[in-house]
Amino acid sequence: MAHQTAQRSLAGDVPGGGDRRQGLAFVVPALLLVTVFLILPALWTLYLGLTDYRLTGVQAAHPKVVGTANYTHALGDKDFRDALGRTLLFVLGSAIIGQNVLGFLLAWTLRSARRWARALVETLVLLAWILPGVVVAWLWIAFLKDQGGTLNAILHTPGRDWWFDHPMGSLIVFNVWRGTAFSMMLFTAALSSVPPSQLESARLAGASGWQQLRDVVLPGIRGHILTNTLLISLWTFNDFTPYLITKGEPHGASAVLPVYIYLTALPGERLGFASAISLIMLVINLLLALAYIRILRRRA
């Protein structure tokens, strides 16, 4: 019924099949933009990854199809595997563990906090999330650098360059700072959906705070935890901000995959090889996104 009225309403004074044609016309601009500037590049990655395309030289003018050579090369390449390993460490440490746990702790403790404490913490956490990436990159360079870095002033460890000594550890701490806001907000919304009556009956049955959390709250928001984990993993996996802070230094020790792709493709001029790596990245993205959609479907 609803659909019939809907069809009629857009059909207007054109009786019969005019609605669908007009509907199509409305969709065309968006579809065209998405196809050319989003889908086409992804398909192009597929093709480029099969060639020996380079930015300059003979291969720039006449790229040769080299088949799956780039892929086998990439999978056997130590630099690539190291970058992939670092990226997994980055995602695991900063998103799956860091943002998830801190975000939940914040949502859980601030629930019953005084208004001013809640407003103060939430504002700061959100601010870290909304500031532009280039700006937070400079803030964290200033925070952890050797010459006058704020952390050294606090810890009385002058001259210590955290970005040089512990590039991945620093990146993980940085990304927890940067992205926790999303987890905090999602878990705050999730916690408000747990019925207070369930918590109340658990309390009356003598459950401690920890038991309430484990037996009532966590099972109740399992779907949210999964959703959150997948989304923040996807975003962290694709984050380019590490480039803005370290440029992959020292000697590639902080080159996560996005940085590695950039360094290979443009300064390194090996576009074909970089495309092969991009495609591997696209596939991982796809798997994460498909898992996310599965969860959404099941919940709906």
Binding site: A6, S9, L38, L131, F182, P258, I293
Partner: protein
């Protein structure tokens, strides 16, 4: 209060203090350095000088790059909102076979094909289309990436709107464009504002696309220019970097406050808004 409660209270305040310190300390530099004469990377009590802002106005690329960012953000926002509104309306009101499937597929693609994973072919594509170093190139690429989520959010808003509104407009002989412009869009204003601000904040903060696609320093937006301030000795010019960072961050904070004040926070399938 029982001892347990006292310990809990103390634990709570320690946690709040630690979290506050963790999140606030890295931001201190952004509020002290711009007002300090010859700032270093360290946080110190500022001299409350406005000299750095004066230097910034003397730099040939600084203020123009903020203007470039505004142009990019506005155009991307306008095209995104217009194309998304048309598409969302049609998808919300006309039964296209497999409509929801298409919508989910687009959303899937837009979260899978990220700037980082597609930077090589995007660079290639813009090179072939002769759109490198042109505003329109960056605008179109950004629009393509933002559209699926924008359509998704807007369709959500349109689905909740009663169809009787449009039908009464039809009775008075309005055509589809008039219905859209005079009835539908005014009713989904919060949705339009959400995606407008979301698109602008996204473009304003995006570094990778302009970094890849522009060659001429004069055309670059603020996100790229911020990393191009050097002293004569070749060191990063921290006075300009910190001051410019502050100026560049203010619009984002204002837009954010505007949305959260006016419309509150809403979750749209995990889209950063």
């Amino acid at each position: 209060m029982s001892p347990v409660q006292v310990v809990r209270r103390i634990g709570f305040y320690v946690f709040v203090a630690l979290v506050t310190a963790f999140f606030a300390l890295p931001m201190l530099w952004l509020v002290t350095a711009p007002f300090t004469r010859n700032p270093t990377l360290s946080v110190s009590w500022p001299d409350f000088t406005l000299g750095n802002f004066k230097h910034l106005t003397d730099d040939p690329n600084a203020l123009p790059s903020l203007y470039n960012s505004a142009v990019l953000s506005l155009w991307t926002m306008l095209i995104t909102v217009a194309a998304a509104a048309l598409a969302a309306y049609a998808l919300s009101r006309v039964r296209v076979p497999g409509r929801d499937g298409i919508l989910y597929l687009l959303l899937l693609l837009s979260s899978v094909i990220t700037g980082t994973s597609a930077m090589v072919p995007i660079f290639q594509l813009m090179f072939k289309l002769h759109l490198l170093d042109k505003d329109i190139g960056v605008i179109l690429v950004m629009t393509g990436g933002l559209l699926p989520a924008a359509i998704f959010i807007l369709k959500d808003f349109m689905d909740t709107m009663p169809k009787s509104y449009e039908e009464s407009a039809r009775v008075f002989g309005a055509n589809s464009f008039q219905v859209l412009g005079h009835v539908v869009l005014p009713n989904v204003r919060p949705g339009l504002a959400t995606i407008a601000v979301w698109a602008m904040v996204n473009v304003w903060g995006n570094f990778l696309m302009p970094f890849l696609l522009y060659r001429t320093p004069e055309k670059q937006p603020a996100a790229v220019t911020l990393n191009n301030f050097y002293t004569e000795g070749g060191q990063p010019n921290l006075a300009l970097i910190s001051t410019f960072s502050l100026l560049y961050s203010i619009p984002v904070v204002i837009m954010f406050l505007f949305v959260s004040r006016r419309y509150g926070f809403r979750f749209h399938g995990g889209i950063k808004a």
